[in-house]
Amino acid sequence: MGKYVIKRLAALIPTIFIVSVVVFLIVHLTPGDPAAMMLGEDATPADIAALHNRLGLDDPLIVQYVRWAGKCLTGDLGYSTAVAGQSVSGMIASHFLPTILLAVYSQLITVFLALPLGMIAARKRGSLTDSALSVFSMAGISLPSFMMGMGMVLLFAVSFRLMPATGYKNPFTDGIGPFFRYMTLPAVSLGFIHAAYMMRMTKASLLEVLSSDYIKMARAKGVKERKIVFKHAFRNSLLTVITVIGQGFISALAGAAVVERLFGIPGMGSLMVDSIDKRDYQVIQGITLMIAMLNVLINLLIDVIYGFADPRIRLK
């Protein structure tokens, strides 16, 4: 097992390198002068030259990359060009909590919604329930999160006045009750698309396992259907489900931008959108790099879980 983990960790190094190159290039392959773009139209040539000097934009691209990557390794993501004296890592840290809480909460909702529904659809394959669930999941996949969110705001906040439409409460300082009151609508709208997807995947993987020989064997032995599904089949389809949860967590982190803007949550997504208006490339680069790295790490975690759960994978 230890050997397997080390092997996976080693395989991570080239991936991290490539991801960092891609993130670096996004900002540096802009048409025109990045410094002029950051400062806007009313910048004097002297301002632009000063920023060039400060960011080292006159050096060759490779030198710039090595310097940037070296700083990133020490946790220094540079300084904001819009807010004087603010470090990018500091800005990300202060916006990190709402986004992470939102992503975790939305994934919990997704799992509790999608797993039972996917299992039901697989067990009652071809029934009316199954068809209804398929249509429901197809519609769910087609609904962008902000549409879902607006629909829910219209329904629960405007019509029934059950929940607040916008805002955010910190669970550690404002209490857990207000947190749930404010975060439930955003979390559901963020998780819904993924719940539809996860339901499909759960159903598909469960059906695949249910058609395998050892399940036939269990049936022939007379094992109860319920026990077959929960004890024998579900365990084996769990690997697919874990992958889908990992993907869902990442897409929740990335998709948070839209939901955070709709519900006025001061998270990383809001920070990123504000930075677009301010042309604060350093912040955009920092957030993109961080989420891409989180993605790589979560994939590593899933690989390790795979190896742990299925010895065939780690011995290959």
Binding site: I18, V23, A139, S142, A254, I276, I291
Partner: protein, 297 residues
């Protein structure tokens, strides 16, 4: 042409016609995909005839009338008016144009470039390594985040929306084209072409490309659908199509501040976005079942 050869050609044509008929019948039999196709065609027609319909109804998507702000749906304004007194019905129609243009351009360009990259990746081991690692790097950044970052750097306008979403879509197509091309390349008829002295490019484009076309086309319908969602999301965030162009996402962004005052500002563009994406997804599912009998029924 000899008698025998003509006979063969005739039989082959009949066979192909028959196959096509079977395919069409199979497609029609899966009702949902027909519904999808109908939705796609309807939205496309609305987009195409947006100026005609608007002028026939005597409404203008750009004209702001202060007197007519926040009008609920009525005979003069079927979908009501927005915070500036503009007609929402015509804005939704013109929004369909933007969504269709973005979706179509992203679908076509990413399919073309992705296929080219995937095909040429199979010809050279070094090129393959570089291209595929680059795709890995791009894929590690979640789609919407990559699109936002690219838009932030490029600047908000329609051309840049198309460029960014194409960059986002290319790695998926390139992977698909590459893996399918690798399978086709090992077939005997490709070997035969090589023995006959056919050139590298001729084999790639004349003999391999047509045979990997079906998965690429299916992927294209899904890129189309996700480009519509991404464009709407970008415009919603203010990083997509700039005002006063009537894009669905941009309209929702404006509606955000007036949810308590005018629900119609949000509902109509939202419904159109959802329905057209659903249409493309259903259509794509039907196509996939048709072209790939294994994953279908």
């Amino acid at each position: 042409m000899s008698e025998q050869k003509m006979e063969l050609t005739r039989i082959r044509k009949t066979l192909m016609r028959e196959q096509r008929q079977i395919n069409i019948r199979k497609f029609v039999r899966s009702r949902l995909s027909v519904v999808g196709l109908a939705i796609v065609l309807l939205i496309a027609l609305l987009a195409l005839f947006a100026p005609v319909i608007s002028s026939a109804m005597n409404v203008d998507p750009y004209k702001a009338t202060v007197r007519d702000r926040f009008q609920p749906p009525s005979a003069a304004h079927p979908f009501g008016t927005d915070n500036l007194g503009r007609d929402i019905f015509s804005r939704v129609l013109f929004g369909a144009r933007i969504s269709m243009i973005v979706g179509l351009s992203v679908g076509l360009v990413s399919a073309l470039l992705g296929t080219a990259l995937g095909l040429y990746a199979t010809t050279n081991r070094y090129l393959d390594n570089i291209l595929m690692r680059l795709c890995d790097g791009l894929k590690a950044i979640p789609n919407i985040l990559l699109a936002i970052a690219l838009m932030a750097v490029l600047g908000a306008n329609m051309q840049n929306v198309i460029i960014s979403l194409t960059i986002v879509a290319i790695p998926g197509v390139a992977r698909l084209a590459r893996s399918n091309a690798l399978l086709i390349r090992e077939q005997t008829y490709i070997e035969a072409m090589r023995c006959l002295g056919a050139g590298k490019h001729r084999i790639l484009w004349r003999h391999i490309a047509p045979n990997i076309l079906s998965p690429i086309i299916v992927q294209m319908t899904f890129s189309f659908a996700s480009a519509i969602i991404s464009e709407a999301s970008l415009s919603f965030l203010g990083a997509g199509i700039p005002q006063p162009e009537p894009s669905w996402g941009g309209m929702l962004n404006e509606a955000r501040s007036y949810l308590f005052k005018g629900w119609w500002m949000a509902v109509y563009p939202a419904v159109f976005t959802g329905v057209s994406v659903l249409g493309f997804n259903l259509f794509g599912d039907g196509l996939r079942d048709l072209m790939d009998p294994v994953s279908g029924k």
